[in-house]
């Protein structure tokens, strides 16, 4: 299969690979996929004042398209508000990376990872609010 130049670029020079402190209350972590299925994505966001995503990091076990989808997602997340981040659709990723039909599930996984990270962040915030009473 021939890869698009953007997929190759993201795989060779992935953006924002790394790990944020998952115990930090301002960090939301999403871990999606399964090793047996051949792809696992971990996407993390660090949310600052005003609900703006200050930092985003990923680590991905998966094919080039999965790595590229998560790398692109972290780039898009940085500087966005949580509400803006929620509007990112897998089809946007497909279009940007020029993913072929067999690789669409990689973009779906990236969207899931974003949603999961946001959900984790919100859960932490809610837990904090309730503990403060």
């Amino acid at each position: 299969m021939a890869y698009s130049e953007k997929v190759i670029e993201h795989t060779e020079n992935p953006k924002n690979v790394g790990t944020l402190d998952k115990s930090d209350p301002s960090v939301g972590t999403g871990l999606v996929g399964a090793p047996a299925c051949g792809d696992v994505m971990r996407l993390q966001i660090k949310v600052g004042d005003g609900g703006v995503i200050e930092d985003a990091k990923f680590k991905t076990f998966g094919c080039g398209s999965a790595i590229a989808s998560s790398s692109l997602a972290t780039e898009w997340l940085r500087g966005k508000t949580i509400e803006q981040a929620e509007t990112i659709k897998n089809s946007d990723i497909v279009e940007e990376l020029d993913l072929p039909p067999v690789k669409i599930h990689c973009s779906v996984l990236a969207e899931d990872a974003i949603k999961s990270a946001i959900a984790d962040y919100r859960q932490k915030q809610a837990a904090r609010a309730s503990s403060k009473g």
Partner: protein
């Protein structure tokens, strides 16, 4: 020696035509273009003579007693189809049971599926962790109705060599025919239809430095005389077993390729095996969590099938894009399923997704092996730095205990 890119390490998929083979073939496209079936003029005689010589060379390579036992085909897929369907159809009054293994090539497995649909019964023997069939299991599987056992000489993915001589003793004692898909192993590991009691054997030229589109089926003529129902109707070529004008240039190439294998195969296998061992040793020394798939002992000299845990195979292939290898990862297959061969060994899906098959061959050099070893080490480390699974593994998380969201 300078390296040339891309580097080919996928010799199980195909091989380049040896220059000596090509040189022998060329005249048969132009000045010696006759039809081998033209019995009454010089053009035909020249072609027929060349075909007969090729037959003799193939027969000599596999230990056949006569060149008349070599039926020329378009390749191993056709040979496998002809062997299984031809025997099934001819011997159906005698029995309707066929035994094969779960790790055969699709040309055997899908042929068996079709025969099942026609009313034959097929037993698919499992393999052991090292990829070898159990002789006890084979013995237990044979019944009064069994007419044919088909077990490959060596596997195309993991390179595992089957105990054919022992299998041949069992089948011969029971009066059951033995077919082997010998494509990957012939010329590279010991193979002799006489001493191994093989009755039918499929081979192809393009896995041994000959051209694509030509192969052969060995069909034993004595003790026992094997009969086949033809699967293609026409001019009655190949003793009625396979009609169709002979691909004379291709057959000449097959013959020369077989002659070279007979002459040089043993020494070549020793050289290639040493290079393979060098590659394996380097990778396993420098990287942790590397698993060998298949038998370490009973293996094709050019085969190295490794799973680099926590790294996905297709990403790995992309990262080493100057090197042509193959992977058992689902992402590289049309079916999006991980390799059925690795699954049959009991390799977990996650390790099947992480598998890379290196195939070394006639033109592989030590420089290439060293380059590939360094590149793979570097890229596995790079991809593991990116892998959440490797990080979790390093933190001591048992990945089998994690509840993954399957999708």
């Amino acid at each position: 020696m300078a390296l040339n890119f891309p580097i080919f390490m996928d010799y199980h998929s195909t091989t380049p035509v040896d220059r000596r083979v090509l040189d022998d073939m060329l005249p048969y496209f132009t000045e010696k273009f006759g039809n081998a079936a033209s019995r009454n003029h010089a053009f035909g005689w020249v072609a027929e003579e060349a075909v007969d010589q090729a037959r003799e060379r193939v027969a000599a390579l596999i230990g056949a007693q006569s060149e008349k036992e070599i039926v020329l085909t378009s390749g191993a897929t056709e040979s496998n189809n002809l062997a299984l369907k031809g025997v099934a159809e001819f011997y159906k009054e005698k029995g309707n049971h066929i035994i094969t293994t779960v790790i055969e090539h699709k040309a055997v497995l899908d042929t068996c599926r079709r025969l099942e649909a026609q009313g034959f019964e097929v037993t698919y023997l499992p393999v052991q962790r090292d990829g070898r069939v159990s002789l006890e299991a084979l013995e237990r599987a044979m019944t009064e109705k069994t007419i044919l056992v088909s077990v490959m000489l060596a596997n195309n993915e993991i390179g595992t060599v089957q105990p054919l001589a022992e299998i041949g003793k069992l089948t011969r004692a029971r009066g059951v025919l033995l077919h082997t898909d010998a494509v990957q192993g012939v010329g590279k590991v010991p193979f002799d239809v006489q001493s191994m009691n093989v009755d039918l054997a499929s081979i192809t030229a393009h896995k041994m430095y000959g051209p694509k589109g030509v192969g052969a089926l060995y069909v034993r003529r004595q003790r026992p005389r094997v009969r086949l129902a033809a699967q293609m109707d026409g001019g009655g070529h190949e003793r009625g077993m396979r009609s169709g004008t002979l691909n004379v240039p291709g057959i000449v190439g097959l013959g020369r390729a077989a002659a070279i294998m007979k002459e040089e195969g043993v020494a070549e296998s020793a050289r290639i095996g040493a290079l393979r061992d060098r590659l394996q040793a380097r990778l396993m020394k420098e990287l942790d969590e590397v698993h060998l798939n298949g038998s370490a002992e009973h293996r094709l000299p050019g085969n190295l099938n490794l799973s680099f845990a926590f790294v996905e195979g297709e990403a790995m292939m992309m990262a080493i894009k100057d090197v042509a290898v193959s992977s058992g990862s689902a992402c590289t297959s049309a079916s999006l399923e991980p390799s059925y061969v690795l699954r049959a060994l009991g390799v977990g899906d996650e390790l099947a997704h992480s598998s890379i098959r290196f195939g070394l061959g006639r033109y592989t050099t030590e420089e290439e092996v060293d380059y590939v070893a360094e590149l793979v080490i570097k890229k596995v480390r790079h991809l593991r730095d990116m892998s959440p699974l490797y990080e979790m593994h390093k933190e001591g998380v048992d990945l089998t205990k994690v509840e993954w969201a399957h999708h």
